[in-house]
């Protein structure tokens, strides 16, 4: 079974600074997808960024970028120019690339709580 590990329960960053959240995963598959979701106190999971395993180029979405190291099974999220609105729980998630039953659901890590200090 796939496992996703987030070893940082809490992180903090000064407003306008950069922070990196860590995620590692374990899989024997070669085709898969990785995601970072943000969950504010409202509880709604919001997709931040996604990465396809077959792509070597790291995904970028505005101030959010990832460092995807496939051989090391590492998928970290970098948030640049941190804003107060970035404060939330951040979850790393894995999904298989196949179409077989069980391939569609997401496997989540335990989350990292990010605090942004004004």
């Amino acid at each position: 079974a796939q496992t996703v590990t987030q070893s940082q329960p809490e992180m903090s960053v000064q407003e306008a600074e950069t922070v990196t959240l860590s995620c590692t995963y374990d899989t024997s598959e070669s085709d898969y997808y990785l995601f970072w979701y943000k969950q504010p106190p409202s509880r709604q999971m919001i997709l931040v960024i996604r990465q396809e395993a077959y792509k070597q180029q790291n995904a970028t979405e505005n101030r959010f970028s990832v460092n995807f190291q496939k051989a090391a099974k590492s998928f970290s999220l970098k948030i640049s120019d941190s804003q107060l609105g970035d404060a939330a729980m951040y979850f790393c998630a894995y999904r298989s690339g196949g179409y077989q039953t069980g391939a569609n659901n997401l496997f989540f890590g335990t989350g990292t709580r990010l605090t942004v200090i004004p």
Partner: protein, 116 residues
């Protein structure tokens, strides 16, 4: 368009009561998922529908949990004879297609269930 909606947002039940949680996915989305999120944890998969067919229910923790999506749109998660360990946030997600590269799941706000 409108996102995924869930109701109620909060539910308090006495131990032994039955509850029903509703999910309205994004219109036209084929796939629908239910996840359970315990306090301080990441969401865990419960069950998956493709249209009205329940293709995967491997994550349902016991036979007290039942889900349906009879017309391929709205889904209901039912928990019978609730226990305290059922207290959690129940998240619903939908996606446009079944698997593949275009399959991104969009989540609702969740229902927080508290069993007393």
């Amino acid at each position: 368009g409108a996102g995924v909606s869930q109701s109620p947002r909060y539910k308090v039940a006495k131990r032994g009561q039955d509850v029903a949680l509703r999910c309205d996915p994004i219109s036209g989305h084929v796939s629908l998922f239910w996840y359970q999120q315990a306090l301080g944890q990441g969401p865990e998969f419960l069950t998956y529908f493709q249209n009205e067919a329940q293709l995967d229910k491997s994550g349902l923790p016991s036979d007290r949990f039942f889900a349906e999506r009879p017309e391929g749109s709205v889904s209901t998660l039912k928990i019978q004879r609730t226990q305290q360990e059922d207290s959690a946030v129940y998240l619903c997600a939908s996606s446009l297609v079944r698997g593949g590269r275009e399959d991104t799941q969009y989540f609702g706000p969740g229902t927080r269930l508290t069993v007393l």
